[in-house]
């Protein structure tokens, strides 16, 4: 071997990338609200966030990786990560539309008809229609294949009749439309015979009951379906193929699996500043350093993933390792900030708000226990744990 400098195929930024990043940075600096918006899980905060999303969309920053015709910029993955880094560095608000943009839209792009794409994507991009996910049921959380809510065929009306109950439905208290899986073949078990349906949250027969979260706000809701009719036009993908439709995009590169490092880098910077403002106490030295290290590791890991994706590799099951890492980092980072403040840390602040939010990370999007099983079985190749009856 004759190694030479600069031999590593660098994923260097192009002039376009740099211009894109600079434009985003300038726009965000001029437009990010000076004061944090109220929680999006309150009625006022929800509206304030919708207004922010509309402003983002008007400048075409709300869905940069989408095609132009649906409000995006056709940005590359590299540019998408650059934008996310700028977004969080600028301290911009969390996205009330995230369930639609990150969880649903990849599925609409892959399985939706042109008519569905035209009907749903533009209003998602502007934040006019906010989507809520309705996966979990009272007896079906991480074991999603055990869900029991039903969709019954109604040929006379050309659609499906939904019955049953969904729970832990994020944003559903204020959102406009929902999406989820329903059992459309009563004789089916597990992941067979499921259909992916979308529905308006103010549909006849649909009761939305808000559930207060740890922070007291109605971020969740329960949904009770009592003969709710959904026309065929609102079915996503083939009836009975709901599992494949849902799973094909859960590991989506642009979805939650590739959680932007910007958020954690920005939080680590704020933590470091907080530590300095308290006189950089030695007792917190290691925890502050570890939070910074975690954020740096996550940033570099993400760029490694992006490099791999750009050079044609798929993200695979690494998204599970990723999820455990960032969710635990987020909790540690916020706990350190609160501990550093001593008794003052009890007072409600952006830190307590962020802390409560971080506590949900190891639970949602597949608990960390499930993610560790996936890492062990799919990456390390360990034998599957015996599952219950019907497995």
């Amino acid at each position: 071997m004759s190694p030479q400098r600069d031999e590593l195929p660098n994923l260097e930024l192009t002039e376009d990338d740099i211009a894109f990043r600079d434009e985003a940075r300038a726009w965000l600096a001029a437009n990010v609200p000076a004061e944090p918006l109220p929680s999006m899980d309150t009625a006022d905060g929800f509206r304030a966030h919708q207004e922010w999303e509309a402003r983002l969309a008007a400048a075409r920053w709300s869905v940069v990786s989408w095609p132009q015709e649906y409000g995006g910029r056709g940005a590359s993955m590299v540019q998408w990560v650059l934008f996310e880094e700028e977004y969080y560095r600028a301290g911009a608000p969390g996205r009330v539309s995230q369930n639609g943009i990150f969880l649903l839209s990849p599925t609409i792009y892959e399985f939706g008809t042109k008519e569905q794409q035209d009907r749903w994507l533009p209003s998602m991009a502007t934040g006019e229609v906010i989507w809520a996910q309705a996966w979990s049921e009272p007896e079906s959380g991480s074991d999603l294949a055990s869900l029991r809510s039903t969709a019954t065929r109604d040929d006379s009306r050309g659609g499906w009749v939904l019955n049953g109950q969904k729970t832990w439905s994020s944003r559903a208290s204020y959102a406009h439309r929902g999406f989820g899986l329903f059992r459309s073949d009563p004789d089916s078990t597990r992941h067979h015979g499921l259909t992916y349906l979308t529905f308006p949250l103010d549909a006849d027969g649909l009761l939305v009951r808000p559930i207060a979260q740890l922070d007291g706000e109605a971020g969740f809701a329960e949904l009770f379906f009592d003969d709710v009719f959904v026309p065929d036009a609102d079915v996503l993908g083939e009836p009975g193929q709901g599992w494949a439709v849902a799973m094909s995009t859960t590991g989506s590169e642009r979805g939650l699996s590739l959680r932007s490092p910007g958020r954690f880098c920005a939080a680590a910077d704020r933590l470091t500043a907080l530590w300095r403002s308290h006189g950089a106490p030695t007792a917190f030295r290691d925890r502050v350093v570890d939070a910074w290290l975690g954020a740096e590791a996550y940033r570099l890991y993400t760029w490694g993933t992006v490099t791999g994706l750009v050079t044609g590799r798929s993200i695979g099951f690494a998204s599970s390792a990723n999820k455990v890492f960032w969710s635990e980092l987020d909790v540690a980072l916020h706990e350190t900030a609160l501990d550093l403040q001593g008794p003052e840390g009890e007072r409600f602040s952006p830190w307590t708000d962020g802390y409560l939010f971080s506590l949900s990370g190891p639970i949602y999007a597949g608990t960390n226990e499930i993610q560790r099983n996936i890492v062990a079985e799919r990456i390390l190749g360990l034998p599957r744990e015996p599952r219950g009856a019907g497995a």
Binding site: P3, W303, A376, P386
Partner: protein
């Protein structure tokens, strides 16, 4: 953001891996610990012929002019295969073209010269010989060592980090293989969630230490970041490996302990986690 190794780097790693396997590096390490340095010295020469000691030496000094990423690639293999001899000193701290075994003490980070009983001491006077927890390393006290430039010391810290990463990977893969065949209560122990989750955590720790080691090689983060994260990940891998092997892992007859003790030695050498966290804290304090 430049984390794809070249085909050439992968090929280099594969050739070093093959060489160590065919030369029975572990057998050489056991002989080395027992006082027979011949197999280890022969392996050293063969690795040196591949250019390992000259890897990051500039071409105008007869070296290969490799990057720090090349260095990291090589040391991960050395850690994975349990190479014996003062490699960090000879290939990272004081790289040279003739393949000689060179060692040095760099107090306070590396207060003893490793293997000065067989290697040439670069500076100072050799004193008392001391035992290491890693029986494949001999520690020699040194009086009056010269000051070594900071960039050379940084290279040594980076090499130690990469070696830890390699050792951590080896401990993980050996443990994964073990829990797939060891049975208790009628099933492979690797099918139990309590075992799976520990190994998943090791996989995650190593996955997130690697970008910091590469990042340090690329100059994106201080080498201290690499040493802390690689050391923590390797330590977790070692502890988990021993725990999941149970009593057999605690014996000398199994090779596992050689890596466990190597990890412990390298976690302390070239700056402890506490030292390097202190370095990073100073940077954050001034930021």
């Amino acid at each position: 953001m430049r984390f794809e190794l070249t085909d050439e780097q992968r090929g280099f790693a594969a050739s070093l891996t093959d060489l160590m396997r065919s030369a029975d590096a572990v057998g050489a390490a056991r002989a080395w610990a027992a006082g027979d340095k011949d197999p280890g010295t022969r392996l050293w020469s063969r690795l040196a012929e591949q250019g390992v000691t000259a890897l990051v030496l500039p071409e105008d000094q007869g070296g290969l002019g490799g990057t720090l990423v090349d260095l990291v690639v090589a040391f991960e293999v050395l850690g994975h295969g349990l190479a014996v001899g003062p490699w960090i000193e000879s290939a990272a701290l004081l790289p040279h073209a003739d393949g000689a075994m060179i060692t040095a003490a760099v107090p306070p980070l590396a207060p003893y010269a490793v293997d000065a009983d067989v290697a040439t001491l670069a500076s100072g006077t050799a004193g008392q010989t001391l035992a290491s927890i890693d029986t494949t390393r001999t520690l020699v006290a040194v009086a009056g060592p010269d000051e070594i430039p900071a960039d050379a010391v940084d290279r040594a810290v980076l090499a130690a980090s990469a070696e830890l990463l390699g050792a951590g990977e080896r401990l993980l893969s050996d443990t994964v293989a073990y829990v797939k065949q060891r049975r208790q209560f009628g099933r492979e122990i690797g099918s139990y969630q309590a075992v799976k989750h520990q190994l998943a955590d090791v996989r995650i720790a190593l996955d997130f230490a690697r970008p910091l080691v590469l990042g340090a090689a690329l100059g994106d983060v201080p080498v201290s970041a690499a040493k802390v994260m690689a050391g923590d990940a390797a330590r977790r891998s070692a502890r988990t490996a021993l725990q999941l092997h149970g009593a057999i892992g605690y014996t000398r007859e199994l090779d596992l302990g050689l890596w466990i003790n190597r990890v412990r030695a390298l976690v302390g050498a070239w700056g402890s986690a506490d030292h390097h966290r202190g370095v990073l804290a100073e940077l954050l304090r001034e930021a």
